[in-house]
Symmetry: D2
Subunit: 288 residues, 4 copies
């Protein structure tokens, strides 16, 4: 049995009795062996219900399309579910956007090369040409799309959309220092992950390490979140923090912060790839 012979069912609906029973009974009857089951309810009385099931596929009695039709009729329509199934054999396609700081992007490429990230990478886009050699060293395509002033944004974003075409299932902003337009963001709803170098909601905007230094915090942080039209306000996926002291200068904060950013972004991307995240309004459910 192959390592990729499994799938994940994600469900979102109004909470009501019988959902778990219906979904698990359906899978059982069609030969799927459930190996992980996580569920969350915002409130058993009238709240929203979320579930993630991971199940083995070799003994399924139906093909993909037939299984999905059967599920829709037998279960999903009854509970008015928003749902989808993803198959581990289908590797999601991740495009990376980066500016001049390479640590976050290289962390992803390096994990990808080691086989730790089950994605395909159609390309890396950057408003600088600086990382071309490093990226091409991984055997990946690199596109330099300059954007030196806000007035170039529309044109630069159009060029990026042209390059991306339909090759990317989701985007990662690995220290991409340009603000994407709402129109661009709308093309990838809940499918753009950004790493922000502070523990949001503290220190939104530019140069958060300087802001942290000037406020005299004793802890710095990093936050991975989905990008929405509001800068640094999207649903938070993951955060982590590290201790600092009065003896740490801004450059020390940046150095310590880089390690945080790499770890936090890597975790967030892995969870996204494994379909462990459900967006609920401006929050995330993470079944890790």
């Amino acid at each position: 049995m192959g390592a990729n012979s499994f799938a994940r069912l994600l469900i979102r609906c109004a909470d009501q009795p019988g959902i778990v029973a219906a979904a698990t009974t359906f899978l059982f009857q069609h030969g799927a062996n459930i190996t992980e089951l996580d569920q969350h309810s915002t409130d058993p009385s009238g709240g929203r219900f979320f579930m993630r099931l991971e199940f083995q596929t070799p003994k399924l009695d139906l093909g993909r399309r037939a299984l999905e039709q059967a599920f829709d009729q037998a279960v999903a329509s009854r509970f008015a579910m928003d749902w989808h199934i993803s198959y581990a054999a289908d590797r999601p396609r991740m495009a990376v956007l980066v500016s001049a700081h390479d640590h976050a992007a290289l962390e992803l490429l390096w994990r990808w090369r080691r086989g730790e990230l089950a994605v395909d990478i159609p390309c890396v886009l950057s408003n600088h040409d600086k990382l071309r050699e490093a990226v091409e060293g991984f055997g990946l395509r690199f596109h330099h799309v300059p954007q030196d002033s806000p007035v170039q944004r529309e044109q630069a974003e159009q060029r990026m959309l042209d390059i991306l075409g339909d090759q990317a299932d989701f985007l990662v902003l690995a220290r991409y220092m340009r603000i994407l337009s709402p129109a661009f963001v709308a093309r990838y709803p809940s499918r753009i992950i950004n790493i922000h170098h502070s523990f949001l909601p503290a220190f939104v905007g530019a140069d958060p390490y300087r802001q942290a230094y000037e406020r005299g915090v004793k802890i710095i942080g990093a936050t991975a979140h989905y990008v929405t039209a509001d800068l640094d306000q999207g649903p938070i996926i993951e955060q982590d923090t590290a201790r600092v002291s009065h003896s740490d200068e801004i450059d020390d904060l940046r150095r310590l912060g880089r390690d945080l950013e790499r770890q936090v972004l890597a975790r967030a991307v892995r969870w996204h790839v494994e379909d462990r995240i459900i967006v609920d309004g401006n929050k995330t459910i993470v079944f890790d």
Copy 2:
């Protein structure tokens, strides 16, 4: 609807298809609304399966005994389950054993008085008389059972068993510095929680902070575990660590360690009380 109108079903059996469907369908059909569901399988092919369900009880169509008989016939016998249901309305009864260090025991009493620990406390037992006033200040019964030499152990343990009678569902060793005999431990299988002041398996036995100091570790820890006949070898429930440096003397390690011990023990006891722990051989499954 009362805050205690819920129950928990814990299940352990050989992994096999259909368990989740059967259990959730049963509860659904009898009017139980499932609010938490956690499951774990050591291996979908031939492994051991564990599940914890938390469900609301006000709309159940059967009383406790009838529900349990029905579950046994309809579900448990079919899968050869080891199972039990606990009801939040039944507060477990916790006896505390302590020696001269008061921090771990007082942390539990203080949380109990604030309503953070849903237990009844029949008594506190100690081989010292030192904490009598502090314990009685909480309105609790305190028993001094001296045990100054190993030869007194049999007699002291018999006296403790006499005092405890059938008043305690589980025991907590909150820095109790006497080794319990296998015969005593056998009276409370997987129902004695100890706090050990190191990150086990490092530094078993006496004076772990001195051992840690002499080894020059940069991290100290604390471990809560169930007590078995083998000293410091029982199933680990929870652990935590804290950084130390060359400038910390043994007394600093003890001071920092006390804070760890209090936190780790409090978490372990809460999980035990909420039936979140399943012992699997020499490990624990913790559905926190």
Copy 3:
């Protein structure tokens, strides 16, 4: 030699060559054995310099007053130092202000009773009468100073100042939910420690756990800081964080946060008591 036979010298001045040599040579020549030395410079060229020395006092060749005069003439005046010496034998006097949540205040009282906090406690002040019994159980004086509306503030603060008189060297706001007036704060400059239940600067103001819950953060925090005239803007002394998830309700955040608040406040107070903190503008130097 008594446990309290040591003193601490704190120095602040413009950075310039020779400060460490001058101060340590002075102490050496007068029989003081230096056991700890920490220093910090914001910039060796034109920055501000800070130093803390801990030294043993039994072999000093001068009494307190003579030593201080000699230091002033021989060293401090030469470098235009702002400095003071505190003696471990002089226990600082800490008054505690608290509202209805008892966990932070009781943590301090409990550590004080165990001998972990080397302070005297002249009294506990509260705008509620709820904690009277708990506080008096420690043998401490409790004063209920109601302040049910903003218009009562002036009168309530005057009453607190009357009660405090000159009995308190510093105040701790252990979840005191009234905003002190700038005039009151000015009476205790850099001598009022507050515990705020968020990782500042995130979630200033009221009900930070609700704010954190609504933002969907994956980490909560607590911050101890000196109180200034600007709410939640004073110099940060200590912070810590804990992980939370989508399954944590607001009350879970409050429960987890209480443990953070207790730890963070206890550390900040200990550092203050041991003269380990120097305020530098809106930041702190903490020589822990």
Copy 4:
């Protein structure tokens, strides 16, 4: 003034009054501006004393050799100090030994290429040929020195010593899975850093993640230490830990552990390079 215009003085001697005064006065008189000063005493009465001073060198009135002679005569001989001065301009030379797991070695190379590690790297040695391409991609020399059975050890070690010659100031075992002979270790006393994939002293020896899994710990760790003749018993430099749960399989522990190993090793190497570590018997003083 260049970024490398500073030096570090490390001192070890019996504790006695006047050491700090003598050393800082000497540096002051010769035009060195002290920017960092850390000291540690195991016991002010008869203990061992350690100090690290970082000072700027542009205004020194003497050259290196003359300064060192003057210090020896004026200060070091008086206190019977074991001491040395290192100059930031002299980059230490680090050789890396690695087997088949690449993560720890690549983390160091990657930080080196970004300028985060101020070392020169004469070569990478491996008992596998697997990492040749990755290492040579950094423009570094790679040597494959097979050692497939214990009987080959003497010959393999001799070949490594021949390759190293006097090119390396210290060695890093970045998951090098062969045990070095005492004779080899003796060539680099306190100058071989190993990363062990557990929180020592727990789980010495082979496959610590399997040991951790089988013991059922709730925390895993990594330890960087200096290598001595006793396996996994050398002075600990740095440790860190991460939480795991019952749902983590051995491969999850390995994955989480890799991130710990990378971070812990990188910190230990940086401290070694910046001369922040003093070995004291089987412990380390780390002035970080």
